[in-house]
Symmetry: C2
Subunit: 479 residues, 2 copies
């Protein structure tokens, strides 16, 4: 770790994980707090990651037939109130607009915390016949929830996300769409972000306000805690019935509709940092990194170095690689440290000797492996190197995840694991909310992250109460 000396300002990850996280966010200039309490300024380095996430995920949505729309930022109170569980869940954390254009409003309106009610309100006028169904829509927007405590990306009053909303003629079709979009999230996060996942259905107590089923993807951070990274909700006909949306079927009979919604937010940037980052800063997976390769000239004042470096840069760009050059007057060591802090997947060192030998040194950010490559081959070789970094980053994270999932069949085991390890614990559960609460209290915070999708049978009885077990649950602390 020869570069440690250049990174002065980042706390060691293993020493103080929370401080390390804050330091990386600050030093990599991803975002900072605005003077609007609890709201972030997304700075260029952070927002560029979000732009790439949007681009990749949006294409995956469109490949399944999703169309994008945009609905209002405001929701009148009467509309928010139409679905009982929904308003119960969201009312305490909304912000209300009470004055507009110099006058008190007749009805207050909240800034949307999520848009189920607006979609229902729109669909009430659009959906009349089976010919109008399905509608498979999504919007990229901002939402606001009045959180008391906030952390960059992980929890802030305002955050950016996409919220997909769909309406269907049958229960089965809506259920299928719920699972399809869940699968899109799983593939996107594992393939593009190199983040391995634990996935499954949420228990009753952890479901979205108003949903019949919530499917989640959960990522394990380097401190062993879980970050809920995306959810897909099946609503049944609850919302459309509450809004009196019905359609005439082929036999001209009035029929209920079925809905889904699904969302992924800027929280996921927090996961990128906490799954892949190290003591030198960010480590970004090549597929999502705004800059994939940084060319760093060595002894750039010497004849021909900058020329060769720029020629190399041009050849990389021509090959479709997101490459930049750092030809500033900083020292090479400083430039290395900066490239590492920003998590740029490779740097390419090119100096007079390299040029003489017709070679460059490619340094992989994730494991600092140095690869000597002929200058004429760099544009051809780099895509392979980037793909191998992508795949190695996933493997490393997967190994960490797998080695931090434990199994318990009674509370003594569970408490012992919780006391001596970080990570998740698999254990059987009776299905009662009271037991969830007890388990969480007894283990110092292990809540149900999701029901094990593999339904691995560990025991016949609930780990807490000893009654017949209904589900295998994955328990963990969470952000």
């Amino acid at each position: 770790m020869a570069n440690d000396k250049f990174v002065q300002k980042v706390t060691s990850r293993d020493e103080d994980f929370a401080q390390w996280y804050t330091d990386v966010v600050r030093e990599a200039k991803l975002c900072d707090y605005s003077s609007v309490k609890g709201c972030l300024n997304y700075l260029p380095n952070g927002y560029a990651i979000w732009e790439n996430i949007q681009k990749d995920l949006d294409q995956r949505f469109k490949d399944t037939g999703v169309e994008n729309v945009y609905l209002p930022v405001l929701i009148p109170e009467s509309l928010l109130k139409k679905e009982a569980k929904h308003i119960e869940g969201f009312a305490p954390e909304v912000a209300w607009v009470t004055q507009g254009g110099g006058e008190e409003l007749e009805e207050r309106m909240c800034i949307r915390p999520t848009s189920e009610t607006l979609f229902c309100d729109l669909w009430k006028n659009k959906v009349k016949s089976y010919r109008d169904l399905p509608l498979v829509w999504n919007q990229w927007n901002t939402v606001l929830r009045w959180e008391k405590t906030t952390r960059p990306f992980l929890r802030s009053r305002e955050f950016l996300w996409q919220e997909g909303h769909t309406i269907h003629a049958t229960y089965e079709e809506a259920e299928e769409r719920t699972l399809q979009m869940w699968k899109v999230y799983i593939d996107f996060v594992q393939d593009d972000l190199a983040i391995p996942l634990v996935v499954g259905k949420k228990t009753e107590s952890e479901k979205f306000a108003g949903a019949e089923d919530t499917y989640t993807i959960e990522a394990m951070m380097h401190d062993g805690k879980s970050l809920q990274s995306g959810t897909s909700h099946f609503f049944g006909s609850g919302f459309p019935d509450a809004f009196d949306i019905k359609y005439l079927d082929k036999e001209n009979k009035l029929h209920s509709c079925y809905e889904t919604s699904w969302g992924l937010s800027t929280r996921i940037i927090g996961a990128l940092i906490m799954v892949h980052g190290d003591d030198s800063g960010l480590v970004l997976p090549p597929r999502i990194a705004p800059t994939q390769a940084m060319v760093i000239p060595i002894a750039q004042h010497k004849d021909g170095v900058l020329d060769e470096a720029n020629k190399l840069l041009d050849s990389l760009k021509a090959a479709g690689i997101r490459a930049k050059i750092d030809d500033s007057e900083k020292s090479p060591g400083y430039k290395f440290a900066e490239q590492e802090m920003l998590g740029i997947p490779v740097r390419i060192e090119i100096g007079p000797k390299d040029i003489e030998n017709g070679e460059v040194v490619v340094v992989r950010r994730n494991d600092r492996e140095k690869i000597t490559v002929k200058i004429k081959d760099v544009a051809k070789e780099l895509p392979k190197i980037l793909e191998s970094i992508q795949s190695d980053m996933f493997k490393t994270a997967k190994k960490f995840l797998d080695s931090h999932i434990f199994k318990a069949t009674n509370m003594d085991e569970m408490k012992e694991i919780a006391n001596n390890n970080i990570g998740f614990i698999k254990a059987m559960w009776c299905g009662e909310e009271a037991c969830e609460d007890e388990i969480k209290a007894a283990t110092g915070g292990y809540g149900s992250r999701c029901i094990d999708e593999e339904h691995e049978h560990l025991a016949d009885k609930c780990v807490f109460c000893g009654k017949d077990a209904k589900e295998t649950v994955i328990w963990g602390k969470s952000y």
Copy 2:
């Protein structure tokens, strides 16, 4: 116009332009009013146009070094108040959040009507030295202005836009950036949207609240009225001084900063409709059209027709053309009318006879010209046809614009032109706001759109008061 019978619901453009506009927006399913007063639902057909605008314009921004960011949706009242003219301009039309998380806020916050104050607040902490400058940032977001009367795309309480904000070390550099971004808008709107422009500086009375200079691009709608389609503002050091943003120059002396901002909004979709549309609906320029070509099979129940049509579709997609097929059970005539209503630049008719002859008929939306093309050549020929439509649409619109700009040297002439024509009038002006008001009143609404960029000299005296003329102004009614 054999297809007129299929388009039942659109008022004739020449009969009632306002009603025609409303009809096209509705029938092409671009947007509709939500139950949130004055706020729109952007539906898939309308939002897809906005997505293409974003994509093209964003690339043009990035080519000039712009970085994207995202700042909060809320502005505390004390922040909005810091620049005197700015608050004067915006205070009457903002919406105030007064409650959050179940409590009354200590300070009310407005939903941003524009974000100059937020950028200044952020930069106050970021800009210390000449090394920190320039910052050239942009955000794509939503803004809210409490308009009393609203029209789809043209004026709504909430609208989508981009707002660029930059800060510089020198007056000259900021001025140059103002002009550079103005040029980006001019090129984008003329080249990609095929909308010819009148461009120039705004007069004092029409400037943005807080700006030293505002540069505008103005498009002429088919009813002769102007739509302000994008603006670039030079702020001098007004805003940064009000926020006490100073930097240390190379000699370690404190120095003022200079700012710009520039914006283009979903209003521009209104311009697309009103410049290019006709009695059959939308006419979209190929470069921005979400779907560029619609394949319409004729007698599709007959053997081989759908197969050939789908093969053709695949070849178009492979050639990078945004193509779709309408293989629904509607009649071909109905499909033609629908494709025309949506403004899809070409339809490709393919039936049993065409297949026999190895040909298809390509019909251009803009002028209904029919072109017979060998099936094997379509993928190769279509990009050329689309480019020729793009260029012909610009020419047609330019001819309309040029033939509707009149010149006047006295008020009698001006009134006569205003009474008998639609369009713009060029006339000399003394520089006094009072004269602008008088001219507007005397002509039934011809306000100053901009100062003539060519400074064409028409007379020595102001067209209204007879005092020495200072500027050539382009006058027009406006949206």
